[in-house]
């Protein structure tokens, strides 16, 4: 089984994120076991429910949600990176965190890296 972990460091409004999504979807379609996507640095902004991108522009967050739903793709955000960017992660309800994303620490990145045959950064 080919296992892949992906690190995303670009924000949802960056056009670089489109390539990350295209790559991850191509991997899933090819039957690769994508064991998780870890959102670090500005990538953590993907989990912010309050981000609103004009409807005629690329909706990166919706696409991640879709991949999460269709393929049960695990999406992890780094808690430190998220809080630094105004996403409140410590409340019990985590109201501001998009449900498709799991609030994790850098330890999750260690786990993904240890388990995956390949690690690809975007």
């Amino acid at each position: 089984m080919k296992t892949l972990a992906v690190v995303v460091t670009t924000p949802p409004y960056s056009h670089l994120t489109i390539s990350a999504l295209t790559y991850v979807e191509a991997a899933l379609v090819a039957g690769i076991n994508v064991i998780g996507v870890f959102f670090y640095q500005d990538g953590a902004m993907h989990a912010n429910k309050d981000i609103s991108i004009a409807s005629d522009e690329y909706q990166a967050i919706e696409h991640w949600q879709r991949l999460n739903k269709e393929y049960q793709l695990p999406l992890h955000i780094c808690i430190t990176a998220a809080e630094k960017r105004g996403i409140a992660c410590d409340s019990i309800d985590n109201d501001q965190v998009n449900e498709a994303f799991t609030v994790s620490g850098l330890g999750e990145l260690v786990e993904l890296t240890t388990k995956a045959a390949r690690l690809v950064q975007f």
């Binding site: 670089l16 390539s19 790559y23 045959a117 390949r118 950064q121």
Partner: protein, 98 residues
Amino acid sequence: MSTLHLVRQSAFATNDFAQCLSVLDHQDSIVLMDDGCYNLKHSLMDSLIKRVDGTLSINVITRHAQARAIEISAAVQHIEMSDVVELTFNHTKVITWQ
């Protein structure tokens, strides 16, 4: 031991491509994507193409180059994102230069 290099920045703006080339091994492959496509017209590319001995492969994502009105060059392979997934597992690791 071979590396897949994903080059995502223009060498006219950053040193990322030059740094990539400085660690390049003869079994490696390069994929130019996003603004990395502009490197097709950079002088670093000319010297790289002269260096290529048949084992190293240089690829560009067709769509990314076409979107930027970059002339298709015969010296490089034209690929899709699904090919990048395949290349990921044909090499032992991936380095992203962005």
